[in-house]
């Protein structure tokens, strides 16, 4: 089967997965484009991992269908799907060395020994583990095991690679390094990557598109900037980054309508009272209730005159901690561009 670029790599058609009364995945529709780096983002229990497991074939939908390049795979076992997985706990085979682990898929396909060795070497080079073939998994560090798991999954040239929180067990430094590396490898091999994570920063850094999951449903699908700048729901606005949600009376006072809207803290300008602004700006007066100095930036909590509060973040371009802390209790003027406000349907 050839991969027709216009056919979605993965398509979900009203897919549900129930565990007893719990609707882990609830009528999800989804299309993942050929060759993209797609992230499933959401808190634990939101259904993202269940979706991944259904694509891999470890779990089957209660209802609905899953298509892999147009073929209905909903009921196929994992070994009949051209999809490979990098597991959260790596799931390396402890009784085999690194080389045999990576060659496992080829061994099952009865690829000749010589060919196997050649391709294992290529793969280990790709993940920067050249010369590690003879080691046992127990002799590797967490980051190295991660790379072996990646090589083992990629050696079969799957149509889609699934990654289940693969960086979760690594420390921050290694994690950031692996994020870049993963992205590079994806570009090199050109395979569709589906990446499950609960870390919004990770999703934003690496993905072409993100699906935000909540309670078994997808809240929003879009590019990282769309998700961040234009959150479609209060959940997305709250889960991805920090947001000020303004609703009801306060919204009416500020915007003239009681439609809920969100404004990112870093889009708000904090100025002195009486500052003049253009007509495309919204201005509000308030009193600074709290100031937290965070080095790179400072976070303010401002009580707005007439009720409600807003979080404001300002980069510390000139100020020092002494200056910012002294602002506490003072009256300030907040202002932002109208275009940065995002209306949200609740």
């Amino acid at each position: 089967m050839t991969n027709n670029p216009s056919t979605p790599a993965i398509r979900f058609n009203k897919v549900s997965r129930h565990f007893g009364d719990v609707k882990a995945v609830d009528e999800v529709d989804l299309e993942i484009i050929n060759g993209e780096f797609f992230s499933m983002l959401g808190p634990s229990g939101s259904g993202k991992t269940t979706c991944l497991r259904m694509i891999a074939g470890f779990d089957r939908p209660t209802s609905g269908s899953i298509y892999l390049y147009g073929q209905d795979v909903s009921n196929l076992p994992p070994y009949e799907r051209d999809v490979n997985t990098v597991f959260q706990d790596y799931a390396l085979f402890p009784h085999m060395n690194v080389g045999d682990n990576v060659a496992y898929g080829l061994m099952i396909k009865k690829v000749s020994k010589a060919e196997r060795t050649k391709r294992v070497d290529e793969m280990l080079e790709l993940v920067q583990l050249k010369g590690f073939a003879g080691r046992k998994p127990s002799q590797l560090s967490g980051g190295q095991r991660q790379r072996v798991a990646l090589a083992r999954a990629l050696i079969n040239h799957p149509k889609v690679l699934l990654l289940d929180e693969p960086l979760g067990a690594l420390d921050l430094k290694l994690r950031q390094q692996m994020q870049i590396e993963l992205k590079n490898i994806q570009k090199q091999v050109g395979i569709t990557f589906i990446f499950v994570t609960h870390d919004q920063e990770e999703a934003i850094t690496m993905s072409d598109r993100i699906a935000v999951f909540n309670q078994g449903k997808i809240e929003q699908i879009g590019s990282p900037s769309q998700i961040y700048e234009r959150p479609a729901s209060t959940f997305v606005a709250g889960f991805v980054g920090t947001s000020n949600l303004i609703q009801g009376e306060a919204a009416k006072r500020i915007n003239g309508s009681d439609q809920t809207f969100s404004i990112r803290p870093e889009k708000i300008h904090l100025g002195s009272l009486g500052e003049k602004n253009g007509s495309d700006m919204i201005s509000l007066d308030g009193v600074v209730r709290d100031v937290v100095y965070l080095g790179l930036y400072t976070r303010y909590l401002v009580d707005i005159d007439g009720g409600g509060d807003l979080i404001v973040i300002q980069q510390n371009l000139k100020t020092t901690s002494m200056d910012v802390l002294s602002i506490k209790g003072q009256k300030v003027r907040l202002s932002w561009h109208k275009e940065h406000m995002v209306s949200i349907g609740v």
């Binding site: 994992p78 070994y79 706990d89 085979f93 009784h95 496992y104 898929g105």
Partner: protein, 273 residues
Amino acid sequence: MPSNTSSRPKASLGLTLAAFGTLLFLHVPMWIIFLYTFTPDETTYKFPLPGFTTKWFGIALQRADLWRSLTLSLQVAAIATFIALILGTLAAAAVYRSKFFGRESISFLLVLPIALPGIVTGIALRSAIGGLDIPFSFWTIVIGHATFCVVVVYNNVLARFRRTSATMIEASMDLGANSFQTFRHVVLPNIATALLAGGMLAFALSFDEVIVTTFTAGQQTTLPIWIFSQLSRPRDRPVTNVVATFVILITFIPIFIAQKISADASDTEGDSK
């Protein structure tokens, strides 16, 4: 197991002596049998030994009845172990795979034959076999032994399954291996030593079992039954000593191997994760 070697307190002398004294109490009696294989005294258990001879080993080797009993015991143990390996592994796999209702009952049912006194199992089997007019034979012995050997294999294999990451099986299937290939390349290598350990224990358990056997055997004389007859009416004392020593050896070795395997497996438990 949380063992902090550096901060391990030192035991008092009294405790150390008591501990090693108890260990000696457990083992010295068996060495005494070994000592008695060299006694020239045929009619009593006189100590100190009135002399030294090695002739009983040769005499024991000549005894056709002993060879028959030994062969019978080995055959029974081998077949009972084989049945236990299959049934125990199947039960362990079923219990491990799913959280179905009643898995505790399964464990309980399997443990029952060794938790209840052996005589209960023995007489129960006898009453059932007798009630169905099945002749007592080699196979009735095997069936009896298998009932209490299953749990040994089951416990060993289940413990190993629980230490094996479930995603390993998924990973194998994900990489293209069907259930049979996954069993052969991933599951079997991971439970092999547990099967070996469980099988060894089952073999040893069956080889020197006497209580259930007295109820399920017909005219067959297993090696333990032969020894038992000597216990109540000693006729061949020196030969019994030789046989007893032999039984100790033939059961010690598999149990030792099994225990070593289990100890090593729990030592490396942390590494394989």
